[in-house]
Symmetry: C2
Subunit: 234 residues, 2 copies
DNA sequence: TTGGCGATTTGCGCTGGCGCAAACTCCGGA
DNA sequence: TCCGGAGTTTGCGCCAGCGCAAATCGCCAA
């Protein structure tokens, strides 16, 4: 682990308020891993031996249902923790985490968590703050699913992806990892057919540009209007 | 606060592994409140001044959307914490909590949380374990909303209510607080009309008995079959 | 006992979005 | 360069469940 990494890491929200010496003690106990695209970081039901900090790449977190459905719970972006089951009193991972692209992660053995929580209260508080945010997000998802039309949900999903993984290009804001219609369908509780129809319609209206495993948002503001149900379909 | 209360409280999961003297120091700083039916325990957006332990009664946690929809996030049963926004790094409550029946709660000032977390690691760990459970529940809700039919979702909701607030009667298992069709609709993302139709159909089949703000589950096992999608509608 | 109101039931028509299926497109490897 | 297959598009038919509206029921208060 180079010192360049170290200084980038120090700026992450999870380490806010953590003293430099403490940061060294924390990071010093991690090992750095590369995860190839499409490979799992951890798997549902598996013993939660480690927790992770994503340094580079994007990870998709999914749950499978007994009857064979897959639902995407969230995408992880660089700087976020994942697999922190132990901090929440679980011994197994509740979901599958798959690298959407080649990734770099730091990994700590889960058994270190209780000592970390006791010795580094800022780190612990930051972690639980992130958990609080996820709980919020999950409730927001429930509310969206309960009250919105498919069109609004898909628009919301795209905006969320843009916010966490958007990269400016000359055409608009590109979602910076491969994402298929099927993936978007699994995030929004619909079918790839419906997503495809929506994207086609939006492309006709010039709101997005999309291709194979690729979506670029051209008019985020228009999309927001749709997401909030303030636009009638033509 | 009587010592009878004290011994009941000691047996709660949140206080598992907490030494008796520590328990006294924790509970000693709480004040006990009665909340009348339909009155709020705390409200969305409000400053999170306190966190609570429900001792008796049932509390409904709801979120309102900007466009006027109400969604029920969960019901709190005796022994559960609520309003722990501070432990998750929030300064305001994320939802409304309304007493479904007359309730008794313990309340602590939120500013005590950091000291509690530092001084009573078991209490803190138990709390975060509960948070972990809620995060799981929320994800389960998302998955249900994404993959199940309304009929299955309503069946799941009833079974969940039975599990956390069921009281045996000679007719079956009664959900032990007033609950309307509208309430069930808000839990499952549907309309009171559809809930009413489902309950009527189930009543004809002898699976439930229901009346004004009252539901009794007669055949939980049959309902489970419906919830899991293993029964075709007649 | 009688109103009155909130909760519930039920009918009816409509439509958003799914299921199925077929055609097409494009990328990557041989 | 060509081929195979994954990803995507699109047409078509259907139905679960919503919206609306009206009728009914049952609890509570006077």
């Amino acid at each position: 682990m180079g010192s360049l990494d170290r200084s980038l890491i120090a700026g992450l929200p999870v380490f806010e308020g953590v003293a430099a010496t403490d940061l060294d003690r924390i990071v010093g106990q991690a090992r750095s891993l590369r995860i190839a695209k499409e490979q799992p970081v951890f798997e549902q039901e598996q013993e939660a031996h480690s927790f992770f900090l994503l340094l580079d790449g994007h990870v998709r977190v999914m749950k499978s249902t007994p009857d064979g459905h897959e639902v995407t719970v969230r995408y992880i972006s660089p700087g976020e923790l994942m697999g922190i089951a132990h901090a929440l009193g679980r011994t197994t991972y509740p979901a599958n985490a798959i690298a959407a692209v080649d990734c770099v992660v730091l990994a700590w053995p889960s058994r270190l968590w209780p000592a970390f929580a006791a010795d580094f209260p800022s780190f612990s508080a930051n972690t639980y703050k992130a958990v609080g945010g996820r709980l919020q997000d999950a409730h927001t998802r429930v509310i969206e699913m309960a009250t919105e039309q498919v069109e609004q949900r898909v628009a919301h999903a795209l905006l969320k992806l843009v916010k966490q993984a958007g990269r400016k290009t000359e055409e608009g804001i590109l979602i910076d990892f491969p994402i298929s219609r099927q993936d978007i369908a699994e995030m929004t509780g619909t079918t790839l057919h419906t997503v495809s129809r929506l994207l086609s319609a939006w492309e006709d209206q010039g709101l997005v540009k999309s291709g194979r495993q690729k979506v670029t948002v051209v008019e985020p503001h228009q999309l927001l209007l749709i997401a909030e149900g303030r636009v009638e379909k033509s």
